[in-house]
Structure formats: C-alpha cells, structure tokens
Symmetry: C2
Subunit: 309 residues, 2 copies
C-alpha cells in the first residue's frame, strides 16, 4: 500500500515575463507544482486547494492523469482562480510582482476530505498561515512529518499566525533571505539555530543557484544546485523542490537525516528541471531517465575521495 501525501496550497494562473519571453496565462500555483513533482513517486497524493469556474478542465485532467486525488479541490462557481503576474529582471535575480488577484483565495476555507485526514506526510505550500493552521486542525492523526513552505510576505504581515504554524511543523523550507528576515541573524548557521528553537527539527535553507542547506540538530548537509547553462523561468523552483522532497520522503517512508539528504537532492533535481522552461511546461516531459541522469550529475558534482589522517 502506498504512503499518503497531503498537499495544501494554491492553484493559480500566472502571467510571467522573463528576459527570454512572456506568457499571459499559464497554469501555476504552489500545490500544482508540488503535486506534479510529488506524483512522479510511488505514493497516494491528494491536493486541498480552491479554484474558480474559469479553471480549465484540461488542467484538472493533467493533474488527475498523474494520479493526483483532486477531491479536496473546491471549485467556486462564479469565482475566478487566483492570478499572479510577475516579471524577472537582472538575470532573473530580481522578481517583481506586477499584479496579484486573490479572487477565490480570499475566502478560502480548506476542507480536507475524510479519506485524506490521516496522511503520512503533509506539505503545506506557500499560503496564508491561517489557512495552513485550519488545514492542520482537521487532521485526525498526527502525520509522520509536516513540511512548511512560506515566504517574506507572511513574515511581514502575518507573523503571529505564522509563528503558530512554525511551532507545529517538523520541517521548514525557506530561502536564505527569508531565514535572515525571520530571525534577524545574518549567519545562516545562527538563523537555523534560532528557527530550531521556534519548533522545526529540520530547517532547509534554499539558496537558488547556490543550492540548499539542510540543518538538523548539529548536522548540516549542503546540496549544490546543478550548474545550468541557462535558467529560463525560476517560477515554481521552490515548489518543485518541495514536491520532489516530500514525494521522495513519502515514497520511502523514511524520515532519517540520511534519507532526508537524498530527499533534498531529489527536490533540487526537480527544481533544476522545472526552471528550464516556462511554468510547469517541462514537468510534463519528466521521465525516470531524466531524474536518474540528474541524480548522477549531482553525485559527480560533489564526490571526492579524501584520506583524513
């Protein structure tokens, strides 16, 4: 029997402009990326989210065809799907949000279907901490692992609720600037220490093209990012990381530090794949052979044999 992964997060339409091109309305949202990546592993994956009447059937089918359970996705009749428009400047280093239409997300009360209330692993995609709390409260059993993704916006405007969520999760996944903002510590070692004290036993700090750090007690694992010739569109990189990370952990059911290191590598591999094309475009082309090649590249990139006297 497969282990169960519950994903709570947004489903969206995005308009994206990068130095390489522009799209007006493509499939997006944290839960979408997480689901598309996680469902490549052997597991039962369900999404809890909300969309509007405009959400295309073809996009629902795309997710269903990957075996994702969408019975927790509410379709609001007469409502419009969450819409985000952003622009990447300066070699993709700066992201500017041009427009955010919350639409159906504004009054979203997540409803977890009965058969999804005892997942092995929960992935809380970047979303309002209030919604994340509401989702956690509906669980009937304590999951093996709860993973949280969040961002600076919630740190700035919803800190008390965010602190409540952080206290309840086992793993937090944020980027380096967010770790510094959350703690006021510049040193990532000190920032991770402080976040440990807020609750999470595991802290993942994502550094984009510089890879990711996983902190647990006094152990640190450093995963590089695959050096890519070109990043086409960074949208969804963090969500794809989360999808690969939780997908691999759910499949294996092993949350030891050693296995979590591998999950970080799987997550990084997924992210490296996503950013090579616009939005979720590349994820449709995923094959196990592509993953195997990337895992091999990670291994080659980092392996050295040293004799320590």
């Amino acid at each position: 029997m497969n282990n169960k992964l519950l994903v709570v997060g947004t489903m969206a339409y995005d308009a994206i402009s990068t130095p390489f091109g522009k799209v007006d309305k493509i499939l997006g949202g944290a839960a979408t990326y997480i689901g598309l990546c996680a469902s490549r592993f052997s597991l039962d994956c369900g999404i809890v989210s909300v969309v509007g009447e405009d959400f295309e059937n073809a996009h629902l089918e795309l997710l269903k065809n990957q075996g994702i359970d969408l019975s927790g996705v509410e379709i609001v009749h007469g409502g419009a799907t969450f819409f985000w428009s952003g622009e990447y400047l300066n070699n993709l280093n700066t992201r500017t949000t041009l427009e955010t239409q919350l639409n159906v997300l504004e009054n979203f009360n997540p409803k977890i279907p009965e058969h999804m209330k005892s997942p092995d692993i929960v992935m809380l995609g970047n979303l309002s901490p209030d919604v994340q709390l509401q989702a956690l409260e509906q669980l009937k059993t304590k999951p093996k692992l709860v993973v949280l993704d969040t961002m600076n916006f919630w740190m700035e405007h919803f800190r008390p609720a965010l602190d409540q969520v952080i206290a309840k999760v086992d793993v937090i996944s944020i980027n380096d600037e967010e770790a510094r903002q959350l703690t006021g510590e510049y040193s990532l070692v000190k920032a991770a220490d402080q976040i440990h004290q807020m609750g999470p036993k595991h802290v993942i700090i994502k550094k984009g093209e510089h890879g990711a750090l996983l902190f647990h007690k006094n152990e640190i694992f450093c995963a590089p990012a695959l050096p890519l010739e070109e990043v086409f569109d960074p949208t969804g990189a963090g969500d794809s990381f989360a999808g690969g990370f939780t997908g691999y952990l759910t499949q294996t059911g092993d949350i030891s530090f050693n296995n979590m290191k591998l999950a970080v590598i799987y997550g990084s591999a997924m992210a490296s794949f996503t950013v090579e094309k616009f939005g979720t475009e590349n994820l449709v082309n995923y094959t196990p052979a592509i993953m195997a090649a990337r895992l091999k590249a990670f291994k080659e990139l980092t392996t050295f044999e040293i004799e320590i006297e």
Copy 2:
C-alpha cells in the same frame, strides 16, 4: 625530494575595518597568505615579492620560520611597503577600498633567483599582469602547472596584458562576479566555457560563503564553503584558498582532475580558517589536526548515498 612551489605576489601592510573591529597595520598581501598556507604542506616554497625598509623583521622571520625561502623578496631601502586600507560593510558583503599606497610596488620588477627558476608549480597571486608576465618569462623550464589569481581592477584597466597572462596559465581562480565581468556571460557554466577558450584548462570560480566551482572540459566539481557561525574578516580568503590549493597540488605532484578536486577542498578549508580572525592571525595557530577536522566536516557536509536506477 620535495616538489617546488614558486609564489609571485604582494607582501603588504593592511588596515582593516569590519563590523567586529578595526586594525591599523597588520601583515597582509597575497604572497604572504599564499605562503603561510602553502608552507603547511610538504614542499619547497619560495616567494618573489618586494617590500620596503619598514617591513618588520619579525614578519620576515614569521615566514622564514615556516620554511619559506625569501631570497626572492627584494627589500627596497628607503622605500615603503605596499599599504592597503579597506572597510567591510553590510554583513561583510561589501568591501570598500579606503586607501591604496602602491609604494615599492609601483616600480616592482620581479627577479626570480636562479634556484627558483624551475618550479613544479607556479602561483601567480593577484598582482599587475605585467609583473605576472615578467615572472613567467624568467622561468627556465615549463612548470607542471601555472595558477593565476586576479581581480576586477586588472580586468577594467589592464585587459590586454591580463589576456596575455590568461593565455599562458593552466588554472585561473577568480570569483563569480569577476568571471561574469571577464566574459560578459551571466551563467557561470557559459562563463567557464568562454574562459577555457581563452587558455586555462581549469577554471575555478569562487563564490564566497557559497563555496567554489571547478570546471575542466565537461566536468564540474562543486565544493561547499563550511557554514561558519561568524566570519570575522574575509581579507585573505581568496589567497588562503590559493595557498591551500597549490600547496596540496605541489605536495602530491598530481594534477589530475580528481586530485584537483581535493586541492579545492584543502583550499576551502584554509580559507575557512583564515576568515575566523583578523588578517593572518589564525594561520599561526594552524595544526594538522585542525585541517583534519575541517576535511571531515567537508566530507560530512556533502556525502550522500544514492542508488541510481
């Protein structure tokens, strides 16, 4: 018999201001850091440089006591030693040069002593490309490996001479911004490709707290930086890297890609040690046990066991 390392570079006095403190006049210079680090390996190390009459005997003794051959260090009577004053701001991310007094460096014509003219490995520390060229022209035999360190200043104002040096070396060691400046390519993979075409078969791109990349043909090795609780003074990090890198390669005499990966780890370990105190202060405390502990930390930081199907 030991292999020979020839170091060409500056010896200096530095005034440094960081958020953690301030020093008015401490020992500095690329060749100083390189020599202090490289001489921790089993090798014969000689420095070619220039100092003024003000250069303290105690500092010459410090270097000599580590077995460094200073017969190529010219002491200009009536001259003053190269002086650099800088300030680190914004969590050490920004370095501002407050003052540069070239002094004896201005008319420096390097003179390599006869017994140093057939080194196994040459390390050209960051210095005027004209001086670097002059040094290379005095060699009697082709070294096994020539390694170049340089910086943005020479790229901006001495590009033709710099291009000549780059064409003559086997390894170049620069930071990510400099790689981008040198090539006009933002992607470090593309930048390394282009630098390969300029001459160097090996390209090292240093990324500070994010580690370093080593490029050779189609192979890439990614070394992390040790996550430190606090960086005290980044001065000399790149030079210490160069010292550890060339010191290890000279000791082993093995310039294969696999061994060069280890050299990058040794270089990174040296750099992590230097930045924990002001200037060269920590290097005096170096012990083989410290190095062994850091190598172990690098190994733990990067090791993962993955089965690829």
